[in-house]
Symmetry: C2
Subunit: 226 residues, 2 copies
């Protein structure tokens, strides 16, 4: 087992609509190696994809981005987004957005991740994993953690079903969402107060190949944890 | 912002009741520096604390460890433990346990963490953080992640309330549960199939001082995410 390293990417400029985010990240002095996972904050992905709306429309936008409202408290809603994610205000927020604007989540964060991955492959000729990360609250536990809302280049899960422990006993039903752990690890170097919007996670043992964060959304009928 | 490194600790022997877990971890060739966070798997903490019960009593034990059963499916329950955690089978499980036994969660995982921290301070004269980590499922999202069930030496939260973003706007209500992110990061090097039961997380920016995982338990009345 080797170490996992989480490296902040400093020097990415303020992102505006239409920017080539992958190229701007690569233009920093980041070292990016094959099979690194590049974690990018949802906020800058949304900005590059021009997902701005006027701040005064924040509540309306959050409702339009939602398929189902679960709770309301003051001007905050907890809802399920069109992608299936359950989060506050459908991910619409104003922090680190200049001027009187807010940004919505990307239309298809898995597609966003695949595009960044393809762009890096094109510009650098290396195969990496990509995670688009956002900060979500969760049931039962106080505080937020970063989770993966977009994934490309690897399976978001590491599956131990059928594998055995050190005593040769079968490990039952353990399916680790490594993409969320990668997103959470990256948060530790992507402080909201410093504007660091991307990080490299190096050394994570994942299954390389096709994968998408859409597969993390749990069908409500199967959810025993609510 | 500096990098965060997650280092597996190899060579910890199989733990039995009464073992001095901290001493056995320090007896490996692990390098442990001041302000590292030592993450220890709940399983070995429970073993050292003799939380074994007979495997045939697993369901009964899970019920006795619970204050409230939320769901039942086959021989699995989702319940709230006496500590307030919501998880499968009250954390009682058989993987990586030798013989016809299962182990319960530690009676007081925060106390377990404080003891490990104190023992490291005594044996090495360094101040570290400690996380006791377990693998929990969660609402809305498929797969499990490692979370902190015991914390010592630092505040499990990094609080951005009142801080400002790069545009000088106040960040509202962002309270990152960095202890859970540290636990999740450590999982990536503590594979269940290899028996690696501990890891060092180096470089995490946390608030050093008193802290406990008990403070992560969300009072049900405040929970908008269920």
């Amino acid at each position: 087992m080797s170490a996992v390293t989480v490296i902040p990417i400093e020097g990415v400029p303020e992102i505006e609509a239409g920017d080539d985010l992958a190229a701007l990240i690569l233009a920093t002095d980041v070292e990016l190696l094959p099979r690194d996972v590049l974690v990018v904050a949802q906020k800058v992905v949304s900005k590059a994809e021009d997902r701005f709306v006027e701040a005064k429309d924040r509540t309306g936008a959050a409702l339009r981005e939602s398929t189902r409202v679960l709770r309301k408290q003051g001007d905050m809603i907890i809802s399920q987004t069109r992608h299936g994610f359950v989060c506050a205000n459908a991910g619409v927020d104003a922090s680190n957005v200049e001027g009187d604007r807010v940004v919505l989540l990307p239309l298809d964060p898995d597609l966003s991740a695949r595009r960044i991955r393809a762009r890096v492959a094109h510009l650098r000729e290396i195969d990496i994993g990509v995670v688009v990360a956002d900060t979500f609250g969760r049931a039962w536990r106080i505080g937020q953690t970063n989770v993966a809302i977009g994934v490309a280049g690897f399976d978001p899960f590491v599956d131990y079903v059928g594998e055995t422990d050190v005593f040769g006993q079968e490990l039952v039903a353990t399916r680790i969402c490594v993409a969320d752990q990668i997103a959470g690890a990256a948060e530790m170097v992507m402080k909201k107060t410093t504007g660091i919007c991307a990080a490299v996670v190096r050394g994570a043992e994942v299954s390389w190949g096709r994968g998408a964060a859409g597969s993390i959304v749990r069908p409500p009928g199967e959810d025993l944890f609510r």
